[in-house]
């Protein structure tokens, strides 16, 4: 692929898109206008309504006899206008005055916690309840207050008088009236209890028993973070997708409709260059829109009170992290848009094809709006949901680096798969020329003997291995570690690579670099194998020290569980097994697939995927370093055995050290978080000697040593 050509295509697509009013509107105008108009407008409307409600006195129908004390309490409050017998039917008035109507039984104490299923209390089927319902529906009054017969006598006797408030929860002014009456009557009750305690010579608080105080400890930043964490991922991902939506249709179905796709296919371009150029343009548009959305949202949130009394205060870096988190989702969504858009015959067709995908985004995004759902090891691999939850955790300041890293790595794997799919679709010229082609033909895995692995195959192999291995590890949870390692390494690293190579008809020898290793090469690999950890684990780990929990988990893995396994078992399961299986995948199939990119880009790309496959940000640098070293060794010797020797010795030595605490003590490493510099220096010398010996190995002709 030629980056220059890719940029020419992307620049042209961007120029065209930026002259399209639809794209400009979705990308810039909508976010700038929408949030202030929608959120500020809604907020102002809400504030206005609240102000109007606050300013207006509640009109309450009073059914029953009022005591002087209660009347005085309402007068002191001044916000409730009591309208005696308003809207009361004659039968109800007579029943209450004559004492024929009785209050409903007191419901059991209503508990707030929703531990058990709670049914809302039903309105009793009585003449007074129906009458109050009718009266409230007419909207002449806001609520009905019934003071049941005997209210005054009961209070005088020291009993509990019964008052009922009837209101319509659908009408905000009715709810307001209920709140005001409740406040008045609660205050009246407190005063009454104090008076009764005093009259009977009881100490204050005797009747109350327990004063309950609850205090919200969430800071304003946390409360606003919760709110933004629920709203922002949803809006950000959706709007980012919506801005890519039109551009993707225009660059695929639109270009087909205009007949310009054929012109492009006539040019000396690789399908991958065309799709990459178009993707880059759509991605840039989507990212500009995301940026505009974030800025507009941040400014709007800073000025608006989403909840009365709560000022949104989110640190700017949270918005920056949110933007970074959108990147892989944006790759994933836009790649799918381009791939699916290519099947559409015209713009309208494209809209029909892509709208369900856009709608499909809503379901995973809704997850963020549900309280209590947080990013965990399982959800970190759920596409879209993982990033949305990661964003939420950032705004709540509860993010965990390893989980965010997992979410990013898995999203990147999904994104690469989607991009590979789009590239595959763009290889179908007949489809791009407006012909019909089945979806199944895109996934054509027919065997073509002599074919060579490509970058797409490398990405596919990595993504499959990563996602399968993760879900398999969940399925194998609770099984002994040797079983987990055996199944994961063979079933999800070795076999998928072999199956992929067989299904495509790749040459085994060149694809997996199956060649013998010379003496000098072997000697070099032994030196590298025993020394590389001093740089990887000793030096690079200082850049980003792992937390104690990860160190313990790794120790447990190296020892095959809590109970220490015999050393020979460690060498089989921790050293030999990963060395064979992972080297066949990463330095075999994946490195071969990248070979057309050139030596160092291929080695670094394969090393990076190797590092990412270890699924921990703290292990990324050391494993990336090892991946690059092993990659260079295999490239130089032309033999995957070289990588296996290095890998096995590296892992075996780690396991032996973890197993032999005596050795660690003797070496003076016990209790020290880092490897001493003297060890790093000695290890580096050994490593350099090993690399020099490998470089002396006669260059072998192979698929990767081109």
């Amino acid at each position: 692929m030629r980056p220059g050509v890719l940029l020419i295509i992307a620049r042209k697509e961007l120029r065209e898109a930026l002259r399209d009013r639809r794209t400009l509107f979705m990308m810039i105008a909508l976010p700038i206008l929408l949030y202030p108009l929608l959120i500020l407008g809604m907020s102002r409307l809400q504030e206005g309504q609240q102000a109007a409600q606050t300013a207006r006195n509640s009109r309450v129908a009073l059914w029953g006899g009022l005591t002087l004390e209660v009347e005085a309490a309402f007068k002191r409050n001044g916000r409730v206008e009591l309208l005696p017998w308003r809207s009361a039917p004659d039968a109800v008035r007579a029943g209450l005055e004559m004492g024929q109507l009785q209050p409903p039984p007191t419901p059991p104490l209503e508990l707030s916690a929703n531990d058990a299923e709670r049914k809302p209390p039903k309105l009793p089927d009585t003449v007074w309840a129906r009458a109050a319902q009718q009266a409230l529906l007419k909207r002449d009054i806001d609520a009905v207050l019934i003071l049941w017969p005997g209210f005054e006598e009961k209070i005088r006797r020291g009993e509990a008088g019964v008052a009922s408030i009837l209101y319509d929860s659908v009408r905000p002014e009715s709810g307001k009236a209920r709140d005001r009456m409740t406040d008045v009557l609660r205050q009246y009750r407190v005063d009454l209890i104090r008076q009764r305690e005093k009259n009977r010579g009881l100490i204050e608080g005797f009747a109350t028993g327990v004063e309950l105080q609850s205090q919200n400890v969430a800071t304003e930043q946390r409360r606003s973070g919760m709110l933004i964490g629920m709203l922002l991922p949803y809006m950000l991902i959706l709007f980012s997708a919506m801005s890519g939506f039109y551009a993707a249709i225009d660059m695929t179905a639109g270009e087909k409709e205009r007949g310009t796709m054929q012109t492009l296919l006539c040019a000396p371009l690789l399908p991958l260059e065309i799709i990459s150029g178009k993707f880059l343009a759509v991605w840039v548009i989507s990212l500009i829109a995301t940026l505009v959305n974030i800025v507009s949202l941040a400014l709007t949130f800073a000025r608006v009170k989403l909840i009365p009394g709560l000022t949104v205060s989110v640190p700017p870096e949270a918005y920056l992290i949110a933007f970074c988190l959108v990147l892989p989702v944006s790759i994933l969504v836009n790649s799918v848009f381009l791939a699916v858009g290519a099947f559409a015959r015209d713009f309208k067709d494209g809209q029909n094809f892509l709208t369900p995908i856009l709608m499909g985004l809503l379901a995973p995004l809704m997850v963020t709006t549900m309280p209590g759902i947080e990013l965990n090891g399982y959800l970190a691999f759920a596409p879209i949901v993982n990033i949305a939850l990661a964003m939420k955790s950032v705004f709540l300041s509860e993010w965990k680096a390893d989980l965010i890293f997992l979410a990013l790595v898995s999203s990147l794997a999904y994104a690469m798969l989607a991009l590979a799919l789009a590239a595959r679709v763009f290889e179908q010229n007949n489809l791009l020329l407006g012909g019909k082609q089945s979806v199944a033909s895109i996934f054509d895995f027919s065997r073509r003997p002599g074919a060579k692995p490509t970058e797409g195959i490398s990405v596919l192999a990595f993504s499959l291995a990563l996602v399968l291995a993760f879900y398999a590890s969940l399925a194998l949870e609770g099984k002994p570690l040797p079983v987990m390692l055996l199944v994961t390494e063979i079933g999800f690293f070795l076999l998928p690579g072999l199956a992929l190579a067989w299904s495509k008809g790749f040459d085994w020898r060149s694809t997996f670099s199956l060649r013998p290793l010379g003496v000098a090469g072997l000697a070099g690999c032994i030196l590298i194998g025993v020394s590389a950890w001093t740089v990887g684990g000793g030096l690079l780990i200082r850049v980003l020290p792992p937390p104690e929990s990860l160190v313990k988990a790794l120790e447990k893995l190296l020892l095959l569980g809590e109970r220490e396994a015999p050393l020979w078992q460690l060498w089989i399961f921790i050293a030999l097994l990963p060395a064979v299986c992972e080297e066949m995948l990463f330095r075999g199939l994946i490195l071969s697939g990248f070979r057309s990119m050139g030596k160092w880009p291929a080695i670094i790309a394969a090393g990076l995927l190797f590092g990412l496959a270890h699924a921990s940000i703290y292990r990324l640098l050391p494993t990336l370093f090892l991946g690059i070293v092993f990659g260079w060794v295999v490239w130089r010797t032309g033999s995957v055995l070289a990588g296996m020797v290095c890998h096995m010795l590296n892992n075996g030595l780690m396991a032996t050290l973890a197993h032999s605490r005596e050795v660690i003590r003797e070496w003076g490493l016990l209790g020290s978080p880092y490897l001493p510099w003297s060890y790093i220096a000695a290890g580096s010398l050994l490593l350099a000697a090993g690399l020099w010996l490998v470089s002396r190995q006669r260059h072998q002709s192979s698929g990767v040593t081109a």
Partner: protein, 247 residues
């Protein structure tokens, strides 16, 4: 003389339909070969396979000895392709579109600018070259498209009904532009419905019917072999359709 284009045994099926069956063609430098056939004869499919945009089920296309489908990046810069139904990028000007394609074809910037100026003058595009393509008339669009096909000075021009949907004046302008390319030694493969154009432009004519090459030769050879007086009758006779005479 070695041909610029040599297509051998090209076949392509779309489901059950044989769009092209064992088609072989040669075009030499400075030669115009016309592809003549009714709708659905497979002309467009054959031209697309030769241009390298459609993979044949069988057969090879060699351009100056380069295999078009195996080495497309080397072969395609030698081809200029234009189809009569091709539109332009509506939000770009003709000059911008030409700059874009020139860069895709790897033209050096100074040469590209010179060539664009030359084509704008030759094809009389100065009045509209800096306006967005969405504002062009059919004739203007076709000139801009022809300019794009000529831009990188290809060895072979593939033109799929370039005068379709054009009025007589615009059509004649395009035909003359093609003649000038032929005079410069460019090999031209040209499909058309218009018998007059084929008679006027083509050194050799290939008659197609239902995806097959049914006859090929110079105008005189085709007419002579058919025993008819003109190309239209020769063509209709070859595809087995009787001419309907006006009463």
């Amino acid at each position: 003389m070695t041909p610029i284009l040599e297509a051998v045994g090209l076949s392509r099926r779309f489901g059950e339909v044989h769009a092209a069956e064992d088609v072989s063609l040669k075009v030499h430098a400075g030669e115009v070969v016309g592809l003549l056939g009714p709708n659905g004869a497979g002309k467009t499919t054959i031209l697309r396979m030769i241009a390298g945009v459609l993979e044949p089920d069988a057969g090879d296309v060699l351009l100056s000895g380069i295999h078009v489908h195996e080495r497309p990046i080397e072969a395609k810069p030698r081809i200029g392709f234009h189809s009569g139904d091709t539109q332009l990028y509506q939000r770009l000007t003709a000059r911008e579109a030409l700059e874009y394609f020139g860069r895709l074809y790897g033209m050096e910037e100074a040469r590209l600018r010179r060539r664009i100026d030359q084509l704008i003058e030759e094809l009389e595009m100065a009045s509209f070259a800096t306006r967005p393509c969405s504002t062009y008339s059919a004739g203007q669009k076709q000139r801009a498209n022809i300019a794009r096909a000529f831009l990188h000075e290809p060895e072979l021009l593939i033109l799929d009904e370039p005068t379709a949907a054009l009025d007589v004046v615009s059509g004649q302008f395009i035909v003359e532009a093609i003649r000038k390319q032929k005079a410069k030694g460019v090999a031209v493969l040209f499909s058309t419905h218009i018998m007059g154009e084929a008679e006027y432009l083509c050194d050799r004519i290939a008659l197609f019917h239902q995806g097959r090459l049914v006859d090929e030769g110079t105008l005189a050879e085709l007419v002579e072999r058919s025993g008819c007086d003109n190309l239209t009758d020769a063509f209709l006779k070859r595809i087995g359709v009787a001419r309907v005479e006006a009463a």
